[in-house]
């Protein structure tokens, strides 16, 4: 599939920064002594901000407050340095996309998109075309259908397309991809990330899925009971969060820099890099539509094979040299953590393998995984 996102004329008013302070504790303003104020600052330029937290932590409420959709605002909101605390939602540069902003079900999906283009007062700010957005969200097959007849995943793609066409420069995605299957989600991530990097839009993404957040966010924020408990770069947050209780499936995140495309094999070649410092170890992954200069790759712990010797005669393309920094014996498997060029790679192996290989902390080791 070929697609062009012409970002040259798709110039937006770029939102550099969202700053807000939440009043916690008491909702009555005159009891100011018990009111805590928590201030936050989101650098938005070219980045996707992730928001994570347990159910009921106030993620949706926070996004709706930022979008100006809640009447009783217990939040002081500044976007690009301008105060939006009392601004009506249509003047707020953030567009909320989630379960509470469904498609207009009395219209076809195309009419949803056309009406948004026609009526939105932000529309002139960037000029993503309808056909461009339809291709971007893969809506071709069902765009003429009535919005009430679409599946959940189709509706979600429609909602994102509609938000992109509204012309607002910031999308607040509230579990907005949750009903899509993973290959589709990964394609959407790459395209949204590309729009971000090109300065067309900025994105804040709420998700339960650490895998989703790890693969496309740059900064991650954790909410608990309406409070921001942590905010940092995703790469440094995610390893902490993985060791907590909220692990859906074990994986590690490696930061890599683009080297070259090997088009004849449908592969992209990267090198491991951390904080701009490139190493000599190569990582091959399946070619993507838009290879980024620096990006992240998620590696399932179960798919990593450990070997004491460098491997040159198996089908595994990736063979990274590292040092064992942790061995954690679980009930029916062993979790081995490796330090590979100052990045953490996790492998799950059986107790039998651990015994046969006689692994211990500090041992040099090779980790193997497939390119696809």
């Amino acid at each position: 599939m070929t697609m062009s996102i012409n970002s040259e004329h798709a110039k937006a008013v770029q939102v550099q920064n969202i700053a807000f302070s939440i009043k916690c504790g008491s909702e009555q303003e005159h009891v100011s002594s018990t009111t805590q104020v928590k201030s936050c600052n989101w650098p938005l330029a070219d980045e996707i901000i992730g928001v994570n937290g347990p159910s009921g932590a106030g993620k949706t409420t926070l996004l709706k407050q930022i979008a100006g959709l809640l009447d009783a605002q217990s939040i002081a909101l500044q976007i690009n340095g301008k105060d939006y605390t009392k601004a009506p939602a249509q003047d707020n540069p953030c567009c909320y996309v989630g379960a509470d902003s469904p498609l207009f079900v009395h219209l076809s999906l195309r009419d949803n998109l056309l009406l948004t283009c026609k009526l939105s007062t932000w529309r002139s700010l960037h000029t993503l075309g309808i056909e461009q957005v339809i291709a971007l969200c893969e809506l071709e097959e069902f765009v003429e259908r009535s919005a009430s007849l679409l599946s959940e995943g189709e509706k979600q793609r429609g909602q994102i397309a509609r938000a992109l066409l509204s012309g607002k420069p910031v999308l607040l995605l509230d579990e907005a991809l949750s009903a899509m299957d993973w290959p589709l989600r990964a394609r959407m991530h790459k395209r949204l990330l590309k729009l971000c990097r090109d300065g067309v839009i900025s994105i804040v993404m709420v998700s339960h899925s650490l895998r989703e957040l790890a693969s496309c966010t740059d900064t991650l924020m954790q909410l608990k009971q309406g409070e921001v408990v942590a905010q940092n770069k995703t790469a440094s947050m995610i390893s902490d969060m993985l060791s907590g209780d909220n692990v859906e499936s074990r994986f590690s995140v490696l930061e890599i820099s683009f080297k070259k495309t090997e088009a004849e094999f449908f592969l992209d070649c990267f090198v491991l890099s951390k904080a701009g410092h490139c190493s000599e170890q190569f990582v091959y992954i399946k070619s993507s539509e838009f290879p980024q200069q620096t990006q992240k790759v998620l590696i399932q712990a179960q798919s990593v094979v450990l070997s004491k010797q460098a491997d040159h005669d198996s089908s595994m393309l990736n063979c990274l040299r590292g040092i064992i920094v942790g061995i954690d014996k679980q009930h029916d498997y062993v979790e081995v953590s490796l330090n590979v060029e100052h990045q953490t790679l996790i492998a799950h192996i059986s107790h039998k393998s651990l015994l046969q290989m006689q692994l211990s902390i500090g041992d040099p080791i090779f980790s193997l995984f497939k390119a696809i």
């Binding site: 979008a67 009506p88 567009c95 509204s166």
Partner: protein, 228 residues
Amino acid sequence: MSLFQIDWQALILTLKLALFTVIILFIIGLPIAWFLSRYTGRLQSFCEALIILPLVLPPTVLGFYLLIAFSPDTWLGQAWLGVTGQQFVFSFAGILVGSVIYSLPFVVQPLLQAFRQQGQQLMQTAQTLGIGKYSAIINLLLPAIKPSMISAATLGFAHTLGEFGLILMIGGNIPGETQVVSIALFNHVEMLDYAQAHSLAALLLVLSMLSLTLLYKYNASARPRLGW
């Protein structure tokens, strides 16, 4: 004047009354329903009860109070006389006001439910997409609740066709002015003219059945909203 002529007059008067009632009810019912769908204050239950009241009240009770309130020796009756130059009781305007109140719940309730179901969410969605409030109401909200508007209009119309007690109380029985089909039917029965009564009764039956059948046939999505 033959009986046949009087019946045509009654039918046309009935249709005219029903049509005017629906038009007036739409003009006042849409804002009332919109306001009620968003109002959550202390008087919410009271307001809703007030709107629903004509549904459970015997029409004669409503008619009686209107008759008392607008009798020519009250200030309300005087004011009406001053503005319209006509007495309220025993006039077409009188029965029109009566039937507007009487059919109010049939029009407001479906609209209220539609606004409650999708009003707020749809308006919020439109606003977060950068669409202004009035533009959203005209271009999105009203088209979205069209099925409910059609069912409100049909119910209001069909219900007005069947009015009897209220009109008899306020309007009396003046051919061409206040004598609607249901009252003409009553006259025929009183005079033991069953043949004529039959034709009028059948006409009302067919008219009401037809409007409801058309409503369900072409407005299937309004179906669940007819439940109270």
